[in-house]
């Protein structure tokens, strides 16, 4: 462990330190604002140190972590997302009874877990990152433990995530026994069918079991069943966290180690991915079709979006990695924005997630409603928004690998998807009945922090949707090594 290694790890270290500091500060004196500020400062410091870390990359830190441009890019994304979540959580938690401060500590830990996951190059670090993330999420989901729904969601997530960890571990064990190495790079070599490195039955079985664990985190069909319940039950900032940081980091990992050069193409595991992609797109969108709870609706839509992402994933070639990365970025921005707006609107004790609560929002809060519409349109993949370009790149990736079936499923299912986004839009813009007095959506001011983060998200949404060239260059740069 050299000094350069430490420099490379500095964002992770700073982040973990912040989590500790926040915890200590709570021990000294409880203050919501202070904890949030500390968390933000820590995230900012960690983000700033990315530049510093960039000066010594790429670098393999011990056998466990690989810090390169790809890692740093995702770290940056995760840190920025975490910062946005902090801002949104602050305004949300202000209205909640009970302790608020620990949320930041747990959240930072979850983010740290995500960072580890992205950087991991070894089964052990993979597992550690996975678990740091999971365990923090258990607590975060059930954070409002005095309410029934979060608790129920927490228990469900706990049981299922632990089970999926068991699957993951068992799979890793099988692979280890087959290959004799826990280095993910070695594994990738096996997949690539390097000489003298063919996988036996146990190896493939292990791969499938690992996929179960990873698929659970990504919530792809058939490992998706938990998603709506957890999304619905968890407090909104946690939901945002699950939807963005958890999925983002796991997908980054998947993309790096399982994608190499489309090596999986044609193998049974590749087919498994194809089936997952198609089933996720269809089932996710179909499930959301008549959903009246917006959180559940977004949960189902997230299943579908993971399906779209999988299309890019199963495609071969550099375009695929870039498309997947772009899509992921667009998606997390959008979904974070959507949950952010919901959390700003639902500033009461009770969350307002029923579709009816949003009726006529446009005529009351035009700016927020317009932002929400933009997010929905981005999810639906309509031009001007990042979501459109994301879908465009995914289609390009799919088309360049001639994945016709998946593309047609994509077309059909995103049309189904459009239907329920439009349903929400219709409600947003529909007229209010005369006697309908809105209690749920007070005409309060949007808190500055949350407002700021929302504004940034919306701007990013349009910037990435309209002028993707610089971002595309960046993605091309960092993904040069992969795929």
């Amino acid at each position: 462990m050299t000094a350069s290694d430490l420099v490379a790890l500095s964002p992770l270290i700073l982040l973990s330190a912040t989590a500790l500091v926040v915890m200590l500060s709570i021990a000294i004196r409880r203050h919501h604002g202070a904890s949030a500020t500390l968390a933000l400062l820590g995230l900012a410091a960690s983000f700033a140190s990315l530049r510093w870390a960039a000066s010594v990359t790429p670098r393999q830190v011990t056998g466990l972590l690989l810090i390169d441009g790809y890692t740093l890019f995702y770290w940056g994304v995760l840190l920025a997302l975490a910062a946005a979540v902090v801002l949104l959580a602050y305004s949300y938690l202000e209205h909640q009874t009970g302790h608020q401060e620990e949320f930041y500590c747990l959240m930072l830990l979850a983010t740290a877990g995500g960072l580890v996951l992205v950087a991991s190059s070894h089964m052990a670090s993979l597992f550690l990152g996975f678990e740091i993330l999971s365990v923090s999420l258990y607590a975060l989901i059930a954070y409002l433990h005095l309410q029934r729904l979060p608790l129920e969601a927490g228990v469900k997530y706990l049981v299922l995530a632990a089970t999926s960890s068991a699957f993951l571990l068992f799979g890793m064990a099988l692979l280890y026994s087959e290959t004799g190495s826990m280095q993910l790079a070695t594994l990738a070599r096996f997949y690539m069918g390097a000489p003298n490195a063919a996988l036996g039955a146990a190896g493939w079985a292990g791969t499938v079991l690992m996929l179960t664990g990873i698929g659970f985190k990504l919530a792809v069909v058939p490992f998706h069943l938990w998603t709506p319940d957890v999304y619905q039950g968890a407090p909104l900032p946690t939901t945002a966290l699950v939807a963005t940081i958890s999925k983002g980091s796991v997908f980054a990992l998947l993309l790096r180690w399982f994608h190499p050069a489309g090596s999986l193409a044609g193998t049974p595991v590749w087919w498994a991915f194809v089936i997952m992609a198609a089933a996720s797109m269809l089932a996710g969108n179909l499930l959301a079709l008549r959903q009246n709870n917006v959180k559940r609706l977004l949960a189902y839509s997230s299943i579908a979006h993971m399906g779209y992402l999988m299309v890019a994933f199963v495609a071969a070639g550099p375009l695929a990695v870039q498309a997947a990365t772009y899509y992921l970025l667009a998606y997390v921005i959008t979904i974070l924005g959507a949950f952010g707006i919901m959390s700003v609107l639902c500033s009461g004790e009770e969350e307002c997630c029923e579709l009816e609560d949003y009726r006529g929002l446009f005529w009351q809060r035009p700016v927020l409603a317009a932002m929400f519409s933009a997010m929905l349109l981005s999810l639906a993949g309509i031009p001007l928004t990042a979501g459109f370009l994301g879908k465009f790149y995914v289609m390009a990736a799919g088309a360049s690998s001639a994945l016709w079936l998946l593309l047609f499923v994509l077309v059909a299912s995103s049309t189904i998807g459009l239907y329920y986004y439009l349903r929400v839009l219709v409600v947003l813009f529909s007229s209010l009945p005369e006697d309908h007095v809105k209690v749920m959506l007070p005409r309060g001011r949007v808190p500055a922090g949350a407002g700021f983060s929302l504004a940034v998200l919306v701007i990013l949404l349009f910037v990435f949707g309209l002028y993707p060239a610089p971002l595309w260059d960046l993605i091309r740069g960092i993904s040069a090594g992969i795929g």
Binding site: M123, A124, F127, L128, E131, S134, V135, Y138, A139, A142, H145, R148, L149, L151, E152, A153, G154, V155, K156, L158, V159, A162, T163, S165, A166, F167, L169, F170, M172, A173, L174, Y176, S177, G180, M182, P228, D229, Q232, G233, Q291, R296
Partner: protein
């Protein structure tokens, strides 16, 4: 052992049993790691086992706390009682 845990998970409704079954599955994986490590003559498997045990402990502590709270809300430990959210 893994399958045993899985079977228990799927059949038992009591949350405590559910948690125990998960533990069984985790331990099964740990054992598998140790066995694999011994196959290749490496210590890595045993290291992983340690990680697993530590993580299982963390998990169970959070899990039990939640189950407790759950029991307070629902006067049962039946996991199927928690089905307020569905559809």
């Amino acid at each position: 052992m893994f399958l045993l845990g899985l079977a228990g998970l799927l059949t038992r409704r009591n949350l405590i049993f559910t948690l125990m079954c998960v533990e069984v599955m985790l331990n099964a994986s740990g054992l598998a790691f140790v066995a694999a490590g011994s196959r290749w003559g490496q210590v890595d498997g045993q290291v992983m086992f340690l990680f697993i045990v530590a993580m299982a402990a963390a998990e169970v502590s959070v899990g039990l706390a939640m189950v407790l709270q759950f029991h307070r809300e629902h006067p049962t430990l039946d996991s199927d009682a928690g089905d307020e959210m569905r559809g």
